[in-house]
Amino acid sequence: MEYLLFTIGFLLLVLIGAALYAVYQKDLLYAVIATGVISLALTGLFLVLQAPDVALTEAAIGVALTTIIFIITIRNTVRFEDEKDKKMKH
C-alpha cells in the first residue's frame, strides 16, 4: 500500500506546485504549459484513485485541446501578464 501512498503524495505535490507556478508565472505561455502539467498530474491521480474513465477524459481534453485554445488566445492577444513588456523575451 505504501507505494500507492507515495505516488498519490508525489502527484499531489506536483499538482499544487504546478498550480502555484501557473498562477505566479508572468509569462502566460509558461502558465499554459503549467496547466498541461496540472492536467498530467490529475490524470495520474485519477488513475490511482481508480477512475480510469475520468483519467481518460482529463488526458483527452486537458493535454492537447485546452493547450491549443489557450495558445491561440495568446497568439491573438499578448503573451505577458503585465503588458509593458510586450516584446518577446525568449
Partner: protein, 122 residues
C-alpha cells in the same frame, strides 16, 4: 493514522488548496487569461474532490472485465465518476467560450488588463 485516512486527507486538502489557489488568481490577477487559468484550476480541484469522495480504500475501477466479477465489493462508487465526466466536458465548453470572449475583448480594447477594460462599471 492509516493509509486510507492519509490518502483521504491528502486528496481533500489538495483539492481545497487548488480551489483556493484558483480563487486567488480569479480575484487578484489583472490579466484576463490568468483569470481563466484560475477558473480551470478551480475546476480541477472540484473534480479531484468529487473523485475523492467516491474512492474506497483498496478499491478497483467499476468496470467488469472477464474474471473480475467477484470484485464488486471492492469497486469504487461510479456515480461521482459519471458526474466528473459531465463536469469536465462542460468546463471545457465554458473555457472555450471565455477564451473567445477574451479574443473579442482584445480586438476592441487592445489590452487584456482588467483595469483598463472598464467601460461598464465593474
Amino acid at each position: 493514522m492509516d493509509t486510507a485516512e492519509l490518502i483521504r486527507l491528502g486528496v481533500y486538502g489538495t483539492s481545497i488548496l487548488l480551489i483556493l489557489i484558483g480563487l486567488y488568481a480569479v480575484l487578484t490577477k489583472k490579466s484576463l487569461i490568468k483569470i481563466i487559468i484560475g477558473l480551470s484550476i478551480i475546476d480541477g480541484g472540484i473534480h479531484l474532490l468529487l473523485i475523492g469522495i467516491g474512492y474506497v480504500k483498496g478499491g478497483t475501477a467499476p468496470i467488469f472485465s472477464p474474471g473480475s466479477e467477484d470484485a464488486v465489493a471492492r469497486m469504487v462508487d461510479p456515480v461521482p465518476q459519471a458526474l466528473v465526466l459531465t463536469a469536465i466536458v462542460i468546463g471545457f465548453g465554458v473555457t472555450a467560450v471565455a477564451l473567445s470572449l477574451i479574443i473579442r475583448l482584445y480586438r476592441h480594447h487592445n489590452t487584456l488588463n482588467i483595469d483598463e477594460i472598464k467601460n461598464l462599471k465593474w
